[in-house]
Symmetry: D2
Subunit: 312 residues, 4 copies
Amino acid sequence: MSALTDGDAYRGQALGEIHEAALALPNDGKVADYIPALATVDKARCGIAFATLDGEVHAAGDADIAFSIQSISKVFGLVLAMQRMGDGLWERVGMEPSGLPFNSIVQLEWEHGIPRNPFINAGAILVADTLVSHFSSSRLAFRSFVRRLAGSERCDVNDVVLASETRHGSRNAALAHLMKSFGNIEAEVEDVLAHYFFQCSLEMSCRELASSLLFLANRGVHPISDEHVITPRDAHRVNAILSTSGMYDQSGQFAFSVGLPAKSGVGGGIVAVVPGQGVISAWSPALNQHGNSTRALSMITGLAGRLGLSIF
Amino acid sequence: MSALTDGDAYRGQALGEIHEAALALPNDGKVADYIPALATVDKARCGIAFATLDGEVHAAGDADIAFSIQSISKVFGLVLAMQRMGDGLWERVGMEPSGLPFNSIVQLEWEHGIPRNPFINAGAILVADTLVSHFSSSRLAFRSFVRRLAGSERCDVNDVVLASETRHGSRNAALAHLMKSFGNIEAEVEDVLAHYFFQCSLEMSCRELASSLLFLANRGVHPISDEHVITPRDAHRVNAILSTSGMYDQSGQFAFSVGLPAKSGVGGGIVAVVPGQGVISAWSPALNQHGNSTRALSMITGLAGRLGLSIF
Amino acid sequence: MSALTDGDAYRGQALGEIHEAALALPNDGKVADYIPALATVDKARCGIAFATLDGEVHAAGDADIAFSIQSISKVFGLVLAMQRMGDGLWERVGMEPSGLPFNSIVQLEWEHGIPRNPFINAGAILVADTLVSHFSSSRLAFRSFVRRLAGSERCDVNDVVLASETRHGSRNAALAHLMKSFGNIEAEVEDVLAHYFFQCSLEMSCRELASSLLFLANRGVHPISDEHVITPRDAHRVNAILSTSGMYDQSGQFAFSVGLPAKSGVGGGIVAVVPGQGVISAWSPALNQHGNSTRALSMITGLAGRLGLSIF
Amino acid sequence: MSALTDGDAYRGQALGEIHEAALALPNDGKVADYIPALATVDKARCGIAFATLDGEVHAAGDADIAFSIQSISKVFGLVLAMQRMGDGLWERVGMEPSGLPFNSIVQLEWEHGIPRNPFINAGAILVADTLVSHFSSSRLAFRSFVRRLAGSERCDVNDVVLASETRHGSRNAALAHLMKSFGNIEAEVEDVLAHYFFQCSLEMSCRELASSLLFLANRGVHPISDEHVITPRDAHRVNAILSTSGMYDQSGQFAFSVGLPAKSGVGGGIVAVVPGQGVISAWSPALNQHGNSTRALSMITGLAGRLGLSIF
């Protein structure tokens, strides 16, 4: 029996036990309700998947149920924009941690319409603007990109969530109009928001998410399709921004206690990149006060600790 | 000839060439002058050292000249406080990136006297308060700690710099009094500032700095003395905070372009931890607009790129 | 010859001399250009009118040329809303000075979508929302109200300015969407902004403006039509808010140096209420860095000083 | 019987009835406790005095009991500094409303150490710096000035309050050190704070306060002593700043509902200037959430409404 198989077996067992432990935790967080359609999700759902560079996917619990990826879509958006725009992107969006809640408009005004980084809402809307301006249909292009990475045609938008996002999108509209007033949005605000709400409303499973982002753990090359998604340098850069800014205003604490580049969404999902090894994705809908899934956080923290995955 | 020796030889050669390249750069930054005593340093100085876990130290240029470590002292202060206070420390100081310049008083007021992290000035003053309260002579304890880690009795305070810090310390006094008003400073403000200015005024060389911090690249154990300085978990934590918050408001950009936990000081020094390999320290007095040494930044960026040191 | 006639003669002479003096000043301010249509106005225009409670209007210079009233329309909007909404209005907008530039979005977020006062942009947009919700056609109602007060059917919107306002209204759109996200806008944002841009695009002359606002100097009763526009208490209240917040971030300085309730607009107009005596209106397009007309400011300051009009 | 006597009788009766009505109100505010010595005052105390330009003082309740004037001392400080410094004062302190709580350090940093106005703490500390720099003993000079204006040698400092202010003065120390860091404090911070705490700890009665400030209602001339305290222009200016900034972050609401230049202190006192008529002073220790005395506010609001005193 090879060491690799041993490692695989150990990972699989660890995943199962950590999933068990998470189910035993009190599930007292709150399902996101700022968008009514999100509040209807079953709070008891809980799944985890760990896709490794050798093509294996270890999974436990509800790892095949598709959920609303929400802000995790910002990672796909950024990568797609980096592919197409090159370094010009970084003149319109920063790469520094924000130090303020993820949808704060204050900092955007202070910094004259340049969002701090691509993972706060303003930054992701800015990225959406570049996609809308670049593609004839940015929404179709985005969905194709995600499906290709995930190796699954199943990934699609939830129309009820999309309608709900649009109806309750006033704060994002405020961010977009403010950037427009500073000249940092090129397309029509309505089109940019339509794209942004579309990508937030995509649904994917833990297994699909973990597989789709493997290129970030492999210097930009997707290990299954061998597609060169981005350069090694850009893969490092995405991981760097995920490390400082991927977990809302709990990013520092996550680096402190887990030590992996990661991104969370208010749908309850979290993805974490383990450079050189693979990608973990966990999901459970109930959120803590920072907007991060309580149980997904607990599972990833547990797994990283047990397998010694910290990059630091 | 072993692979290790080869690696060593390669490192040494890389270091020399990168140092040459830095000397060829225009040296148009500005030496720190907010403290008059710092402004007298020779702007042409430039050195770099890379201490590895096997005990080797590769060096080029002015690697043995002692300079004012300034904010790099915050790393030693944090480690000493973690040793003595345990997790109670994190109730009085946060671990999130600040998103604002390093000595901003605004955020401190918003967050009711709890500094964002131990590497902004307010956070380091808070850490100084815990040291002053813990040790009968926190200044002597601090200096002994640094000397032991560096394996050198030479490390000492520059009295001219210390006097200058004290005379021009109004902003730090404002931060300390504001924390005191929120009940987050225990000792007398005068004593806390005296300690803080003392540690900022210490002088060390690149070689001494790199050697002294090797335990951060070695899971908390100093590889030369075998001293268990902090736990592996705490070593990860220090590196995590260095990654998100060590380079003032250029921390995100440094993670993006270099990808190493690092700390800079306005004396022109930078230290960068390479987990599992060693510690780099570079120094050159002229600073960019973020307060980071232009040439030290350039040398570390070059070395990390050439040797593929990014943790991401 | 009665004292009153003497007073009138003196006022008329003072007005003429002060107008002369203003023309002799260097006219080096900048005509508003954030809306392109405003930038085409002749910078050399300069007029002043002083309407008194006895029905006289003293005038000098271009006092009969209609100009874009811009933010002066906020006074009419507030009065119309006070008429219709009663004290309920003050649950949705504050009455405190803002301490920040007139279109700042920062304070609006801090204070959860409740604008500081009705004379900053956010506050005037909030007032517009109440009018849109109250009237079947708030724009016609607004124009009728202004025409009746001015005793002139001439007052109308400049369509070029209106189109320009709408095209360059991103920042106001951001303010409106942000208030909507806090639940403090009832109507559709598009309708609210359409009303707001409409009222800003109205054109009136100094003579018309001064006459129309006489009720504020007369405890709520218009002295010419005898219409009870608002209660004495509400007239005091409007004057109070004008005193603390009517001149953008120069309000304190205007109280300090002139001492009259006043409102300015970026079209170059200023109106000032002299309780118990009348209303002054001055106009000249070039603005200082606070967005107030340099020459209008100079004429009103001169007149108030010469006639001893300060309320303090 | 002359009209004046009638007016006097009417005022006296109004004062008595309004004082009665205030006593009937629930007294559920909170006595200031940020300084322990202030928290010991009898919450049931309640007095009011109205000094008129003819030398009469109408009074009701505890109008002769001395209380801690606290921030009301800022008025005396400003007047004394205007006497000595002339217009140079306004290069070091502004005249705009602050829009933020009275001891906020945020705005001070944004505006590079120039306080918004002389009635927020930072502004009053700045004024104290000018007095310390001007007088050989600024504290004695200040006390003499107040005694002369009040026509009473009784006014003196409460030593217990002074000691308590000093011990709990961290926030004011932070403000002073921050201004020092911007170069806007000339004297030693310790000396400036010693003066500031001294003037805040003075005790005066309603009768003494109302009499001492009569010059502000009389174009700068004290009507009893005939002393020309300041120029008419400077008297207007002080009243203007009192109008926009005298009642902490309730200044706009006070202008809105009362319409008089006024200053409050956390000792529970309020003074209000009635230009051309006199000065009202009311006192009761329990404070609302803005730091203004509930009953004093109620009495002055009632009296101004009943006698029609609004300046607007």
